[in-house]
């Protein structure tokens, strides 16, 4: 590893983010969804393909890391630097320090089946499951876009509309939500528990 990345407090970290340096959150997506540093991108460390997922998002350059899990930060940093990135700073104390400094954590908005039933007519539901999974039924009116087709479809989505992402259990749709959020769609929500919970609650499906 090259020189030590600077250990930054929330204020200093924020200043570097404002210069346009991307910040990466390395935790599992579910923890990112519950609260993350504003503007940070989710790249969970440890799944196969790190740092390829970072390379998919940006070309090698300066990056910042949110230091939530010190050991993970260290491992990720070594991988990133080997791939040509320069880690210019880490947020000391991670997301908790950010929140403790009085800054708000950004959340990925989750919606329950009951809540979705109440607003289903006012939102666009996107079902990100694979075609073979849809025979069991989808939420009436849902648009069908398999997860891996989302990058092609993102330009057709209206950022002014509220989109609710849906899959079988709520996990793939969370991935989809994080992706759309990063692509600038701020009014995206995720159905917690997915179709399993929607159907479990007795809400209708169309086949």
């Amino acid at each position: 590893m090259s020189e030590n990345a600077r250990s930054l407090d929330p204020k200093a970290f924020e200043d570097v983010v404002r210069e346009g340096v991307p910040a990466l959150d390395l935790r599992p997506l579910a923890l990112f969804a519950r609260g993350h540093v504003q503007g940070a991108a989710s790249v969970p460390y440890g799944r196969a393909g790190f740092p390829d997922q970072v390379l998919d998002m940006m070309s090698p350059g300066r990056v910042l890391l949110v230091d939530d899990i010190p050991a993970v930060t260290k491992m990720a940093r070594a991988d990133l630097e080997e791939a040509g990135f320069k880690v210019v700073g880490v947020l000391s104390g991670g997301s908790r320090a950010w929140e403790a400094s009085g800054r708000t954590l950004e959340v990925l908005d989750q919606v329950t089946a009951d809540e979705l039933w109440d607003l289903v007519k006012d939102v666009k539901v996107i079902d990100v499951r694979e075609p073979y999974e849809l025979a069991q039924g989808v939420i009436p009116g849902a648009i069908r876009i398999p997860l891996n087709m989302l990058p092609e479809a993102v330009h057709d989505l209206d950022p002014a509309e509220t989109h609710v992402l849906v899959c079988a259990t709520g996990f793939r749709s969370l991935v989809a939500q994080a992706y759309l959020h990063r692509r600038g769609l701020r009014k995206v929500r995720n159905l917690v528990g997915g179709m399993a919970l929607w159907e479990g609650c007795g809400y209708p499906v169309e086949r």
């Binding site: 935790r27 599992p28 579910a30 799944r47 939530d68 899990i69 010190p70 050991a71 996990f171």
Partner: protein, 255 residues
């Protein structure tokens, strides 16, 4: 649910990584020096989990704990029984405290005897059913035998006999009160020095099977139980006093 039993076959030690994919959170129980801090961090990350709790079921006498180091590396709290008297700070656990990992609930049962600070974790996966599914027994009930009561540092006013009496109540009143279907995941197996001579090389059993066939649980009362565990003691673990002192956070000879 994600459940991994991670072993050090050399010492016959077992540790656990238990997590929930939905919330991305995991707990590590009795992490082993032999496996190292990074292995637990990486195993968790590979499964899409962050370690949010690190627990030692008691202060170990046969291996140096990496619980505190793992907790620091993971940015997670380090948890021990409130009855652990150590020279460092930790987040105390008491009877009935719970960890919730999505639908998985782990409830603390105080199970002293081998040590005064022994605890077990009783797990219920509420997405499967309301009954408890398995219990991590730490050093109390093992497969085929039970933990030894005599690993006491000089200067203590405890005796192996007083500890054996406590262990008897832990086994017969706390653990055997669980339903027969509950799986038992112990802290040691095989030739580990922390338990009796009849420990199995198998690393999981059930309360029902141990109730019927565990040799130490055949004893009729506390007196005969104490006699049984004291009669069959293995040699002491290598360097156990030194290891115990390290885990207590003291370096001098005095406790």
């Amino acid at each position: 649910m994600i459940f991994e039993q991670l072993a050090d076959p050399g010492l016959g030690c077992l540790s656990y990584l238990i997590g929930d994919e939905g919330t991305g959170e995991a707990i590590v129980v009795d992490p082993l020096e032999k496996l190292g801090v990074d292995l637990y961090i990486q195993k968790a990350a590979e499964r899409g989990l962050a370690i949010t709790q690190v627990v030692d079921t008691h202060l170990h006498a046969d291996h140096v704990s990496i619980g505190r180091r793992l907790a620091e590396a993971a940015g997670a709290p380090y948890r021990l029984s409130k009855d652990a008297s150590v020279n460092y700070s930790f987040d105390p656990l008491g009877e009935g405290d719970t960890f919730e990992l999505g639908p998985l609930v782990l409830k603390v049962l105080m199970t002293p005897g081998h040590t005064p600070d022994g605890l077990s974790l009783l797990a219920t996966d509420t997405s499967r059913g309301r009954e408890p599914w398995f219990v991590l027994t730490g050093d109390s009930l093992f497969i085929g035998d039970v933990a030894r009561p005599d690993l006491i540092l000089p200067g203590s006013d405890e005796t192996p006999e007083t500890r054996a009496a406590v262990l008897y109540r832990t086994l017969f009143e706390t653990l055997l009160a669980l339903p027969d279907t509950v799986e038992v995941y112990p802290g040691h197996y095989g030739a580990s020095t922390c338990g009796g001579r009849y420990m199995s090389g198998k690393t999981v059993s059930t309360i029902g099977f141990e109730r019927r066939y565990n040799i130490a649980l055949k004893e009729a009362d506390e007196r005969s139980f104490t006699h049984f565990v004291m009669a069959g003691l293995k040699p002491l673990p290598d360097r156990y006093e030194e290891i115990k002192r390290k885990n207590l956070g003291v370096t001098s000879d005095r406790v």
